[in-house]
Symmetry: C2
Subunit: 330 residues, 2 copies
C-alpha cells in the first residue's frame, strides 16, 4: 500500500463530482486536493471541500494532483476535456456514449501517451462493471447468450427528450425491465427478445398551461429511437408531485449470461450480476474513485496510455496488499 | 488474436479433466494435444481425445504444449504436482484449500519464475469468480459487508467425512443457504450471521447392513468443524435411491456486497453475483480453459511467475480482439 495519500482532483461539480467528493472520504489512501469548475467558485456549495477553483487555474496544479477525475458529461464535456487534460494529468472518466467509445479511446490514448500519463475511460457501471461481467461471463461460457437489463431507474436521455416536446414543462422517464422476459432468461430459455420485450418506458410529465395533453402523449409514444419501439406509459402529474415522488436517483439492472457446457450442450449454467442502487451517481462515483487508485498505480509502473475497465487487473483497484488478498479475499 | 492454436495438455483425468477436454471444444483458438494420467492409459475412456499417455512421458511434451491444465485435487495432487510441473510448463490449476493459498502461491511463484513460465493458481468459481467479485465489490463499495453463500450443491469434503463413519456405506451432503438470512442480506439489513445462520446441511446416507441408525445420525450431527456448528438434516436412503436421485453435479451460490454511499451512509447499494450450475466440474473446467488463454498471453509477454485471478485483466481471458471489445462488449 502507498504510504503517501493519492492526491485527487475533481473537474466538474454536478451529481457525479459531488459523489466523487464523498466517495474519497471512504478511501483512506486518498485525499481530495481541489475541485475545478467552469462556474464561479463562489457559487459552488460543496459537501466538505474548501478548495474550489476556476478551471482556468488547473494548469498550476499539474504537479500537485496524482489523478484528475473528469466528472463532466459525455455529450459535450468529455469529448473536449478528455483529450485536452489527458496530456497533463492521469485521468479517470465515465464516458458512456457506447457507439463512440472506440474513437474516444483513440484520442485519449494518443493524448495520454504523448504526455506520458494514464487515462482510464468509460468507468462506471455501464459501461463499467456491466462490461466487465459481459466479458468475464462470455469467456467463462463461450456457448450461450448475454442479456443486459437496465432499471428500474431514470434515464436522463429519455427524460430530456420528453422535455424538448412543445407543451412539456418537466418530465421524468423510468426504464423498466419486462419481468416476464427476465424470468424466461433466468430460467435458461435463451429467448430472442425484441427491444419492446426487454424494457418498458414509464413517463411522468408536467404540462405547460394550455398544452394539448393528447398531442403530447402521442408525440412521446411515436418518438423514433426513444419511444416508438417500446411500450410506453404516460402519466400526467403536477410539478409538485413530480418533485416529491420522482426525484430519487435510484437505479439498477442486471447482466445475465445463460450458457451451456457438456458435449451436447446438456448442462445449463447461469451467471447473473445484479445491482440495486439507491444512488446512481454516488455508486458511479465510487467506482471512479476505485479506478483512480489503478490510474495512480499504472502511472507508477509507467504503463502509459488509455485503458478501459477490461485492461485492468482487479487487484489494482483495491486498497489491500497482495498478502491480504491472498489470505482474506481469494 | 493468435493465429496458431493454443496447445493444451491435461494432467489428471477425473471429472475436472473431462470437463476441460469438453470445454476446449468450445474455444476455437485452442486445441487439446494430450491427456496425461497416472493410470494405465488403456483404462481411460475419454470423451473424444485419442492421445492419452502415462504421466511418465510428459517430459517429452515440454515443447509441444503451451499450457498444461493441472486437474488433480488440492489435498494431495496439486501440492506435489504444481511446483514440480510449473518449472517446465505454463500451468493453470484449481487449488482450493483457502487457508493454504498463500504458501501454495509462494512455491508456485518460485518454481515458475525459475523456469521462466507462468502459473495461474486457484482458478474456478470459489476460489475464482467469487474471489474476483469479493475484491471488485469491496473496492467499489469500501463501506459495507460481503456475504458469500454456497449451494444448493454437493460438498465432496462433507460427503467424504460422512463416508468415513463406521456403518456408512455411501453418502451425499448438500450445502444449502438459509433462505431467511439470504433475504435479510438482499434487503440490505447487513445482519451478523453465525455459521448456523448462513448454511444448513442435508445428508443422504446409505447404511451398511446391521449399522446403528441412531448412532450414525448422532455421529454426523456432532462431528466437529463439519457438522456440529450447523443445523443438519439426515435422511437414510437405499443405495439405489442415492444413485438415482443424488448423483447430479449441480451447484451454485452467490456473493453479495451490501454497502453504503453518501455522507451519512444514507444510500444503500447492493451488488449480487450469482451462479446456478447444472455441472459444477464442467463450469469450473470452462473457467480454467479461459485462464489457459491468459497464461499463454502472459507467457508471450514474458510476465513470468505465479498469478491469481486477481492479477489478470479481464481482456486477457477472452477470444476477442481489442477492437471487438471496445465496439461490442464495453
Amino acid at each position: 500500500m502507498e504510504k503517501e495519500k493519492i492526491k485527487i482532483g475533481i473537474l466538474g461539480y454536478g451529481n457525479l463530482g459531488k459523489g466523487v467528493e464523498i466517495a474519497i472520504k471512504t478511501n483512506n489512501d486518498m485525499e481530495l486536493v481541489a475541485i475545478f469548475t467552469r462556474r464561479n467558485p463562489q457559487d459552488i456549495k460543496t459537501v466538505y471541500s474548501k478548495n474550489v477553483l476556476n478551471v482556468s487555474e488547473i494548469e498550476k496544479w499539474k504537479e500537485k494532483i496524482d489523478v484528475l477525475l473528469l466528472c463532466g458529461g459525455s455529450a459535450t464535456d468529455l469529448p473536449e476535456q478528455g483529450p485536452y487534460y489527458a496530456k497533463d494529468f492521469n485521468t479517470v472518466d465515465s464516458y458512456d456514449t457506447h457507439a463512440k467509445i472506440p474513437e474516444y479511446f483513440e484520442v485519449m490514448n494518443q493524448s495520454s501517451k504523448e504526455g506520458k500519463k494514464v487515462s482510464i475511460i468509460s468507468i462506471g457501471w455501464d459501461p463499467g462493471a456491466f462490461s466487465l461481467n459481459r466479458v468475464l461471463s462470455e469467456a467463462f461460457l463461450p456457448k450461450g447468450k448475454t442479456y443486459t437489463f437496465w432499471g428500474k431507474g431514470v434515464s436522463q436521455g429519455h427524460s430530456d427528450a420528453i422535455r424538448r416536446i412543445k407543451g412539456v414543462k418537466n418530465a421524468i422517464q423510468y426504464t423498466i425491465p419486462v419481468e416476464e422476459s427476465v424470468e424466461k432468461v433466468r430460467n435458461g430459455e435463451n429467448p430472442e427478445l425484441t427491444t419492446k420485450q426487454k424494457h418498458l418506458r414509464e413517463c411522468y410529465v408536467v404540462l405547460e398551461e394550455n398544452a394539448d395533453k393528447e398531442e403530447v402523449e402521442k408525440e412521446i409514444k411515436t418518438m423514433p429511437n426513444y419511444f416508438a419501439d417500446y411500450d410506453t406509459i404516460v402519466h400526467f402529474v403536477t410539478e409538485k408531485e413530480l418533485l416529491k415522488n420522482h426525484s430519487r436517483m435510484s437505479h439498477g439492472g442486471f447482466v445475465i449470461r445463460s450458457g451451456y457446457t457438456g458435449m451436447e450442450e446438456k448442462n445449463k449454467e447461469l451467471i447473473e450480476y445484479s445491482l440495486k442502487l439507491d444512488s446512481n451517481p454516488e455508486f458511479t462515483a465510487s467506482i471512479l474513485v476505485a479506478y483512480a487508485r489503478a490510474a495512480y498505480r499504472l502511472y507508477k509502473n509507467k504503463e502509459y496510455g488509455a485503458k478501459t475497465i477490461l485492461d485492468i487487473a482487479p487487484s489494482m483497484i483495491i486498497n489491500k496488499t497482495k498478502e491480504e488478498l491472498l489470505k482474506d479475499l481469494l
